[in-house]
Symmetry: C3
Amino acid sequence: MPHATPRGPRRLAFGGDYNPEQWSEEVWAEDVALMREAGVNLVSLGIFSWARLEPREGEYDFGWLDRVIELLHEGGIRIDLATPTVVPPAWFYRAHPEALPVSRDGTRWAFGSRGAICHSSPAYQEAAARITRALGERYGEHPAVVMWHVHNEYGVPVLECYCDISAADFRRWLAERYGTVDALNSAWGTAFWGQLYGDWEEIQPPRLTPTVANPAQRLDFARFASDSALANFGRERDLLRELSPNAPVTTNFMVSPTQCDTIDYWAWGREVDLVTNDHYLVAEEPRNHINLSMAADLSRSVGGGRPWLLLEHSTSGVNWQRRGIAKRPGEMARNTLAHVARGSEGGMFFQWRASRAGAEKFHSAMLPHAGTDSRIWREVVRLGADLDRLAEVWGSRTVADAAVVWDWQSWWAQKLEWRPSEELDTRERAEAYYAALFDRHLTVDFVPPEGELAAYPLVVVPALYLATAAAGENLRRYVAGGGTLVVSYFSGIVDEHDAVHPGAHPGALREVLGLTVEEFQPLHAGRSVRLTGPDRAELTAERWAETVLLDGAEPAWRYADGPAAGGPAVTRHQLGEGTAWYVSAHLGRDDLDAVLAAASADAGLPEHDPLPRDLEVVRRRGERGDYLFAINHADAEAALELTAPGEELLTGERVTGKLAVPAGEVRVVRVDR
Amino acid sequence: MPHATPRGPRRLAFGGDYNPEQWSEEVWAEDVALMREAGVNLVSLGIFSWARLEPREGEYDFGWLDRVIELLHEGGIRIDLATPTVVPPAWFYRAHPEALPVSRDGTRWAFGSRGAICHSSPAYQEAAARITRALGERYGEHPAVVMWHVHNEYGVPVLECYCDISAADFRRWLAERYGTVDALNSAWGTAFWGQLYGDWEEIQPPRLTPTVANPAQRLDFARFASDSALANFGRERDLLRELSPNAPVTTNFMVSPTQCDTIDYWAWGREVDLVTNDHYLVAEEPRNHINLSMAADLSRSVGGGRPWLLLEHSTSGVNWQRRGIAKRPGEMARNTLAHVARGSEGGMFFQWRASRAGAEKFHSAMLPHAGTDSRIWREVVRLGADLDRLAEVWGSRTVADAAVVWDWQSWWAQKLEWRPSEELDTRERAEAYYAALFDRHLTVDFVPPEGELAAYPLVVVPALYLATAAAGENLRRYVAGGGTLVVSYFSGIVDEHDAVHPGAHPGALREVLGLTVEEFQPLHAGRSVRLTGPDRAELTAERWAETVLLDGAEPAWRYADGPAAGGPAVTRHQLGEGTAWYVSAHLGRDDLDAVLAAASADAGLPEHDPLPRDLEVVRRRGERGDYLFAINHADAEAALELTAPGEELLTGERVTGKLAVPAGEVRVVRVDR
Amino acid sequence: MPHATPRGPRRLAFGGDYNPEQWSEEVWAEDVALMREAGVNLVSLGIFSWARLEPREGEYDFGWLDRVIELLHEGGIRIDLATPTVVPPAWFYRAHPEALPVSRDGTRWAFGSRGAICHSSPAYQEAAARITRALGERYGEHPAVVMWHVHNEYGVPVLECYCDISAADFRRWLAERYGTVDALNSAWGTAFWGQLYGDWEEIQPPRLTPTVANPAQRLDFARFASDSALANFGRERDLLRELSPNAPVTTNFMVSPTQCDTIDYWAWGREVDLVTNDHYLVAEEPRNHINLSMAADLSRSVGGGRPWLLLEHSTSGVNWQRRGIAKRPGEMARNTLAHVARGSEGGMFFQWRASRAGAEKFHSAMLPHAGTDSRIWREVVRLGADLDRLAEVWGSRTVADAAVVWDWQSWWAQKLEWRPSEELDTRERAEAYYAALFDRHLTVDFVPPEGELAAYPLVVVPALYLATAAAGENLRRYVAGGGTLVVSYFSGIVDEHDAVHPGAHPGALREVLGLTVEEFQPLHAGRSVRLTGPDRAELTAERWAETVLLDGAEPAWRYADGPAAGGPAVTRHQLGEGTAWYVSAHLGRDDLDAVLAAASADAGLPEHDPLPRDLEVVRRRGERGDYLFAINHADAEAALELTAPGEELLTGERVTGKLAVPAGEVRVVRVDR
């Protein structure tokens, strides 16, 4: 895919959501003046404006938007224009109450917040197409409109709808997927608990049942929900491509698994012209910059490695978290530039000016309630200037050292009830392995289970409960071809229908790993087991262990006690040209390092870099050279040895040898070729 | 307002809820005999009797009630006669299932407990008026009926109803409040998240939404709910005033914020002839007598300082608390007399005789299951005699030393979702400041934000998130005129529509406090910050800090560490003739004392009294003198110095100089003028 | 009642649930071969097969079942044939959505798990009768069908249905119980909170109310729910008795209070030909074999002491628990043989072969996913052989040392809201006293409150909140006749309508205990009180204490501190020929031992046996002698002294004097007469 970006100059985007309809027109002029002062060059406009634009069905009021667009355009500020389809007007719901979504227990959500949409509703689909067409026709060729922002954050706050309209749509989707009811019965394993269907009309969404519902039914419904929203996105995108052929069409993702768990971004990444992402720091989490980096790497990966754009983050505290912890001085800039390091072509915020009313009035903004005499405003202005200094990184591409296999559908499947332990947690494992790789200063690409792996010296599978036979074969081929693979426990267990692969666990991965799992050994709450390995290195596991039977693999660590005492715990399998490691126990983030060190050696990765732990170092490769981003998250100065001299872009200084990065600061060096 | 009380002799009321319909008629005679033994002189009758009085629509059976009333009258026991409108009969709901209330998520509550009423239901309103009229006509002139007890505990267990009838009523209420839909859009800030309304009919109650609903909509719905119940109270009151002009009309409040959070008692206090209140000790809370005193002070305050009447409390344990901890010997009398000290004209209980059946059979009573050979009964008899000894305090008025600003609507607003920290807690702050004042032995009046303050040397605002510009001006005028004000953090933030006041926080209070808040600094869970102040006094804050910019105020304490390190934490602003203190941090109850000591000095209040901490001392001022109540909550004897000699009313002894109060006992001295 | 068992040879049953419809026919032959290898002699078949047997209403497909039955029959494997009425087909629900049950808050459960049935639905009742008749007609005389398995686990996952059909059925049930509405009003105490009914049609199930519903209404609805399911069982049973007169009819109970809390098994035990039970180990609980033994004793007791059959347990971990902890080596056999020791005529499992799909694919099975090269399979094969070696215990009867009074209805009543403390917990007390008796190596029969007690030297009443006057008299007569009774607190409080017995607590037991309880003294969370008794023995109580007034009883332990300090805590009452102990405090399991030791001495039970704590010893009495089961749950060898020589059946060895039981092993000795 080509590198689609907002139309306009090759510079990093800077700005935020702009909601002028919350303010009187006098304020608009001040807004544009202050935007210019801060270096804002792009705003997202009109996200929640449907009721203002179409106050009654089919009657439009574009005057105010015309004026805002002209003001911005005159100010040199480009526009990411939204279709406002995330909040249909009140009149729409009065006419179509059936378009409000229904929860799993049968409650119909009400109008009055946002995103209350049954994506299967024909009435909604028609109304959304109508306002999209009207906007496309009016502004499709406007020079200030450089990108289209369809809808907003599909998937949150609610995606699934269990109403009868959705039920019919689900049946249609199933009929397309399975062809016959018999095929569905087989795929869903309905022989279990006597759930055989005889007719499509008998099938319903997995509404609330007195005990656990059929897991395959639930998994398919999750797929259907993601697909039905994607179809709506596609409808709007196609209209806009027709009416505004020069501006890329996007919708803002929330790829971080801490933020959205209902969208299959692998599928969605293929459908947008440019990946854009919203990321919010988990304010109370220690070292929360790691979660940020993971989100950034995911954003780049779902776009196939292309540059992307951070469309929302926050200047400071966020009021929908338990405690809206304010960012420390410098933290906002570190956050923004970490996204840029990992491929974002800029940094945008929610939102430009803090709202006086509504649900998010205590959400930080570029222009806070306190006004311009404030730390936040001063840091915003500085950040705008810094991004300008970095203009030349535009178009360069982040360089990855390793790959992590991640799959939304497998996560959905694993989260269903009645797994062998409630402490199984796909997201937690992905984050733990990601953090261990981060602490080894390895930059990571994410890859889907059947994706291309050959380019990576090291591939890590933190938790892949659902793995098709094809995914298993993909991993086998990768190893046989010389790759180094690390697989964590409870991976390769079920097929795409949540059915256990025939034979012993892990069905899809027995061959590549050279072993079988005789029995899962979930541990008692609070208990741990010890693992002993090479050089008497001892590790500790909690939550999970396994009884492993070797079939080609060799033990690297063994259980020293617990229910699998004496048996293999971490194994290594030489297969063809490569090596496959298996970690059968739940190791903490730090203990994972020992395993990853051993695997990294197999992979030929350089010895663990003697970099300070909280100095994040990432490279973007561009036409003029490599851009080395060094982000110091610590409270003390840190330094790293440059492989070649270069120019530091933020200070303009020439750097040779050691690059010093002051506490809390960022340095970006264009390393000489 | 005049001092309305139950008709009859000027003596303190003593008795309880009496539910004779639960017992056969033989028991009634025993009841009256035992009531006389205990000194009971008032009972609340007929609260749950609707189905007995009107067994079928329009058919009445008053015979049994006639007999009960005669029995009581003959026994010299006065009657607080109830309208039984809190529980309509089963036949009513069979005919009008739509009168059952609907919860926010759409569940219609069922008949079978109590208080399941849609206050907007015309059917309910008509039926309630009919039974009220029937009772008023029959008993309005009966000499034993000395007060009317409308309904029961409006507001609990449920007040809000989200049904379609309520929705129409809500629209009517909104139309009256706002006039036009445009005005409502502006007030509610519907531009945020695209919630603009075009027609009244589009507006609904704030039913369950997939994420946070419009906060102004929710706040108005809370106001509407309180108002709609108040309208029903008013309908019954007006009927009774017409039919029974000589008996005051009341309804029993639950003013303590620990007990009811849905009624705006400032508005309700104006509508009753006499404030009556129900208070239940939070049995497991340490020093729970402080909460009791706060409830008593609130009861007096919502009646504008007039004497009031404690209509329900408990003799011992309460079965709807997690653990029905029994009262210790003497505790019941201390409780009752603390209410009397703070203005109650007596002490009534739920209930006279413990029920054998139903939901509250394990609730303590005046006559327990164990009968008269029991600690409880012996203490009840003693209390009846003690209240007789205190008859002369009737009509005297409690003397307050300071005022606390409290507002139900501000509390409702602050409790809505997505505030800057989930640890913000209006009620907690009010209780903490109240406790700190209590421990300084200051008796407190509560005042609404726009209420009259000039009479108080010290005014404390513990948490007033919502403060109108008029309230801000009221406080400013108070200080400028010589008052001493203490304001705690997160006050003055929003206007009556939950919209942030323009400009920096705290919009309504910037001028009086002489500062702005640049940024809120909610603290991480479990973390604390230190404050250093005059004479190196060090305080500790948790949960909340702020970055404060001074604009006239001076720092008294500064943050020694944490996110606002070095900045002002507690400030003092001299304005006109007075002083305004601001406490930007969450201090514990004990640390608040340091700030209140400094402010008290400004206010010219006497130095912290060297009274024992758990000796509660309150004065009532009467025609014959001041009545000094000394309640010893401790396990050891305590003493206080009398300013003048006097007569101790419970022992009949003459006291001069030191008044000794034995452990757990109460003394009431009429101090000589 | 006669000893009904599955038809066929007098041997212990061994096998499991068999669900061939989940597998292709090729697998069936392998199944039968492996069953024979393992010694399987009985399988439960067809539990979830309705949709396979009746794919469209009235159209049957028995061919596959014929083939399975023939295969099993040829293999010598007997069949416990199920009526599949626990999961009606999808077509049934499409035609009869009203047969899906409705929760208390009005949510209608959906199809897609299991057991979603409104037991009052005529449509369901007709459809269930039809498939039952069809199966009975076809297989009623088949020689392989040796038992009928009606439905599955009545009572879980849901029993109560609050729909309008159920409401009408409930009214019918009430009319039968009470005759007149007035009688119901009196029984339910509807005078409280004004809930008087005037007409049957006004009465509803106790749907969700804004606060606590009428407890008598809730209790009756729980009874009705158990009865309505029992009526459905009876309908199927009567059909099968008619069509298959030689095979006993059962339904698998879940008598353990940890597993099902909605069925009154005293009533149900009378209606089955043979009690069968499902028991699942609470995997994470320490010493969980005690809970198992309690379930086994309950199973025997609800069948009146007759042998019974363990119809389901697990070979290893269970996936619906929080953590599916795998069984340790030998644990499965100990579990099975403990059931046999306590009267089970065999040991059956859920399920034969692990499912690949559905909700329970991670539930252990006899044939695990890992196949036959696995610890589980090897232990299954060994267990089959061991049960063969024990064939002669068939028909012998377990010998009990003491009785525990247990009542489901009392438990239901106590669990309702607003008891004097939320920490009151009937189940916990029953388990605690059972464990204390277990640790004294006493085998226990359970008895209903009005059941026959004379045969037991010791009777324990751990928690019997609801006790009729007749139950009180039953206990009084038992003591007066020479028995030794131990009663724990909060027993004998209410009658069958949840109404407090007139007078002081404990109304039904004042006479037998020789005391009254003046006041309950629930303790503050986390606080404890000390008890001092004979020889300065000190005990500690938490949660609960009482103020006790003696009226014939004598204090054995007194409260040393706390709210009842100085008063009696544990009392002893000599009455007629016997003794009644009362324990007014909540003692931990270990402290209970002191009281039980004293009571055991009164009962003339032998001194506390010097047996190792975790050596479980139980006797079955047969025609050829006593079978002494010794189950060593500890990790070290244990031994016990035999009273007479005998033959150890599992090893075939002759044993005299000391019987050594290796760590984790079981020994079964036929002791010589």
